[in-house]
C-alpha cells in the first residue's frame, strides 16, 4: 500500500529502521512519527469512538487526532514527536490487540 504523504525534498537524511504494525519500515532522521507513518500507510490510528481510521488533521499539535501507540506501551502525539530508530508503531490501537 502506498503512503498518504509524498516526499518532495530532503530525502538524503540518515535512514532509521522502525516497524509499523509489526512490518519493517524505514523513516528518515527528522521525520515526525506522523510523517514516518504516512510515508508508508494512510492511517495513524483507529478512532476510539466509531472505529474508523484517522491520519491526523492539523499537524501542529492542536487537534489531538494523531495519538499513536507503541508496542512498548508509550503513547505519542505523532505530529509533534520525532521518529527514533527501533520504534514499533501500532496504528491499530493497543486496545484492539487486547492489551
Amino acid at each position: 500500500m502506498s503512503g498518504q504523504f509524498q516526499r518532495l525534498a530532503e530525502t538524503n537524511r540518515p535512514r532509521l529502521a522502525i516497524t509499523i504494525d509489526g512490518e519493517p519500515a524505514e523513516a528518515l532522521a527528522g521525520d515526525t512519527v506522523l510523517t514516518a507513518l504516512l510515508a508508508h500507510t494512510r492511517r495513524v490510528r483507529i478512532a476510539e469512538f466509531g472505529g474508523e481510521p484517522r491520519a491526523g488533521f492539523c499537524l501542529m499539535g492542536a487537534c489531538q487526532d494523531c495519538w499513536v501507540g507503541l508496542a512498548d506501551g508509550r503513547r505519542l502525539r505523532a505530529c509533534t514527536s520525532f521518529a527514533e530508530a527501533g520504534m514499533a508503531l501500532e496504528t491499530t490501537g493497543m486496545t484492539l490487540r487486547g492489551r
Binding site: 498518504q4 504523504f5 509524498q6 516526499r7 518532495l8 525534498a9 530532503e10 530525502t11 538524503n12 537524511r13 540518515p14 532522521a29 527528522g30 521525520d31 515526525t32 510523517t35 504516512l38 510515508a39 494512510r42 492511517r43 495513524v44 478512532a47 469512538f49 466509531g50 474508523e52 481510521p53 484517522r54 491520519a55 491526523g56 488533521f57 492539523c58 499537524l59 501542529m60 499539535g61 492542536a62 487537534c63 489531538q64 487526532d65 495519538w67 503513547r75 505530529c79 509533534t80 520525532f82
Partner: protein, 457 residues
C-alpha cells in the same frame, strides 16, 4: 518594585519581537514555546539535518524569516529560553508548565501571550477520512517535513492562505489538482480597494492566482463542498460550482481551511474578558490600544489576540512589550506605540478587505447535515448538537457541550468550536454572539499520565 522576570509565551513573529524589545530595555524575559525551535507558524524552522535554503522554504517571505530567526538567535544569552515547554494552565500568579513529560510551576507577575492561531474548519460529509488535513497542516508537511499531503491535492476553503499554500505545493513539485474557494468572485473584486492598503500583499495574491491558472490548475470561486469520497481514505471530492453544477474531482488529499481562529485559551484561563468580533466572526480577548488586557500583568500580541497576519504580529509583539515596560516604569513609550498603531491601521484596513474578499461561509456551517460528524474527538454528529438544543433545551454552547459532548474532547473544541457555534445559533434562532462562548479549561492540551500523577501529589 521587585517583580518576577516577565514571561513571553510564543516565539513566532510576535513573541520574538516582544522578547527583543524587553531585552533592549535591559530585562531578561523567560521565553516559552512548546515547539522545539523559534519561528512560530509562518516562520517555522525545519528540524536539524534539513538543508533547504530559506528561499526554498519561505519563498517571498525568506528575508523576513531569516531576519526574524537571526533576531531570536541573537537574544540567546540574554533570555531564559524554554523550548519544548507547554503552558497548560494559568492561575493569577503562576503558570503551569509541561516539559519532557514533567510538570512544574512558574511564578509570574507579567506575561505576554503571543500564542498564534490555527485553521478554522467547517465539517462536511466524510471530512474525517484520512487524507483530509487542515490547510495550515498541509503547509507544515511541506515546510517542516519536505512532504506533500498526497499525490493529487485539492485545496478547499477560503482565505489568502488557500492560494499561497497551493502555490507553494505546485512550486515544490506537488500535483495540485484544484483550488476550490467558497468565496464568490464578485466579493473579491469589491474588496480590491481595501486590499490596496497593502499593495505588495495584494500583488502577491494576484501572482499566486495567475501562476496557478497558467499551469492549468482548476481554480473556482463560489463553490460549495458536497462530500469526500472514499472508504478508508480520500479518493475524490464532490463539489458544486457557483452555477450549482456538481463536479467530482479525483484526488487523494484535501487541504481544508476557512481562515484562522485565534488561540486564546491562555487568555481565557487568565480570566481576560472576551468580546464578539463581528468582522473576524470569533470571540476575542479584550485588549486596549497597547495590547493590555483588563487583567493586570497580562498582555496580548500577534494572531492570538485577533488575526492580523505576520507583519502585524511583529508590531503588536513590540507593542505589548512596550506596554509592559510602561506599566513597570520608568520611561514613556507613547510615541513609539502611536507610530506602531498608525502602521497597524493599514493592516486593519487590509484585514477588512480580506474578510470581505474571503468571508467565512457561515451558511455552510449552519447547514451541516445531521449525520455529519462535527466533533472528531468523540465522533458526535451535527444532529446530536441540534438535539441538545431542541430536545434538551441547551440555550448556549457550554450547556450544549455538557449535553452533547461537542467540544468536550481532547482538542477542547479547537476544531469543532466555530462550526458548533454556528449550528447552535441557527438551531436556537439567535444571533451567533447569543449562542455564547465555549469556555476554556485546563489543561489546554492533554497531559501524559505520568504528568497527571505528578499534579495530584
Amino acid at each position: 518594585m521587585a517583580a518576577e522576570p516577565p514571561v513571553i509565551v510564543g516565539t513566532g513573529p510576535a513573541g520574538t519581537r516582544a522578547a527583543e524589545t524587553l531585552v533592549r530595555a535591559g530585562l531578561r524575559p523567560i521565553v516559552i514555546d512548546e515547539a522545539p525551535a523559534s519561528g512560530g507558524q509562518i516562520y517555522r524552522r525545519q528540524p536539524p539535518g534539513f538543508t533547504r535554503a530559506d528561499t526554498e522554504v519561505y519563498g517571498f517571505e525568506a528575508d523576513k524569516a531569516t531576519r526574524l530567526h537571526r533576531a531570536f538567535d541573537g537574544l540567546a544569552d540574554r533570555i531564559d529560553y524554554r523550548p519544548n515547554t507547554l503552558v497548560w494552565s494559568i492561575r493569577p500568579d503562576r503558570m503551569h508548565l509541561l516539559r519532557g513529560g514533567r510538570v512544574n510551576e512558574l511564578a509570574f507577575s507579567h506575561a505576554i501571550f503571543a500564542t498564534g492561531a490555527m485553521d478554522r474548519v467547517i465539517p462536511f460529509p466524510s471530512w474525517t477520512l484520512p487524507g483530509v488535513f487542515t490547510l495550515g497542516g498541509a503547509q507544515v508537511a511541506l515546510k517542516y517535513q519536505g512532504c506533500a499531503i498526497g499525490r493529487r491535492v485539492v485545496f478547499l476553503g477560503t482565505g489568502p492562505l488557500l492560494y499561497l499554500v497551493a502555490y507553494q505545493y505546485a512550486r515544490a513539485g506537488a500535483r495540485v489538482v484544484a483550488v476550490l474557494d467558497t468565496a464568490p468572485f464578485a466579493g473579491k473584486l469589491a474588496a480590491l480597494p481595501a486590499l490596496l492598503a497593502r499593495p505588495g500583499m495584494a500583488a502577491k495574491g494576484m501572482f499566486y492566482l495567475g501562476w496557478l491558472r497558467s499551469r492549468g490548475v482548476t481554480v473556482a470561486s463560489g463553490i460549495r463542498p458536497v462530500g469526500v469520497e472514499g472508504t478508508d481514505a480520500v479518493a475524490g471530492l464532490v463539489w458544486r460550482d457557483d452555477a450549482g453544477r456538481e463536479h467530482r474531482t479525483d484526488c487523494d488529499a484535501i487541504a481544508l481551511g476557512f481562515g484562522l481562529k485565534a488561540e486564546t485559551q491562555l487568555a481565557d484561563l487568565a480570566e481576560v474578558p472576551f468580546t464578539w468580533d463581528n468582522l473576524q466572526r470569533q470571540w476575542l480577548p479584550e485588549r486596549d490600544g497597547w495590547g493590555r488586557t483588563p487583567v493586570g500583568g497580562i498582555y496580548l500580541a500577534g494572531d492570538g489576540a485577533g488575526i492580523l497576519g505576520a507583519d502585524a504580529a511583529e508590531l503588536t509583539g513590540e507593542r505589548a512589550a512596550l506596554a509592559l515596560l510602561q506599566d513597570r516604569g520608568p520611561g514613556d513609550h507613547g510615541q513609539r506605540v502611536a507610530a506602531i498603531n498608525a502602521e497597524l491601521d493599514r493592516h486593519r484596513r487590509f484585514r477588512a478587505g480580506l474578510e470581505a474578499a474571503f468571508p467565512f461561509p457561515d451558511d455552510l456551517a449552519r447547514s451541516t447535515a445531521d449525520d455529519t460528524i462535527l466533533c472528531r474527538c468523540e465522533g458526535v454528529s451535527a444532529g446530536e448538537l441540534r438535539r441538545a438544543a431542541s430536545e434538551l433545551g441547551a440555550g448556549e454552547v457550554n450547556r450544549a457541550k455538557a449535553f452533547s459532548r461537542v467540544g468536550m474532547g481532547r482538542c477542547q473544541g479547537r476544531v469543532c468550536g466555530p462550526a458548533a457555534a454556528e449550528i447552535l445559533a441557527a438551531a436556537l434562532g439567535v444571533p451567533i454572539e447569543q449562542a455564547g462562548r465555549l469556555r476554556g479549561q485546563a489543561p489546554v492540551k492533554p497531559l501524559p499520565m505520568a504528568a497527571v500523577l505528578d499534579t495530584t501529589q
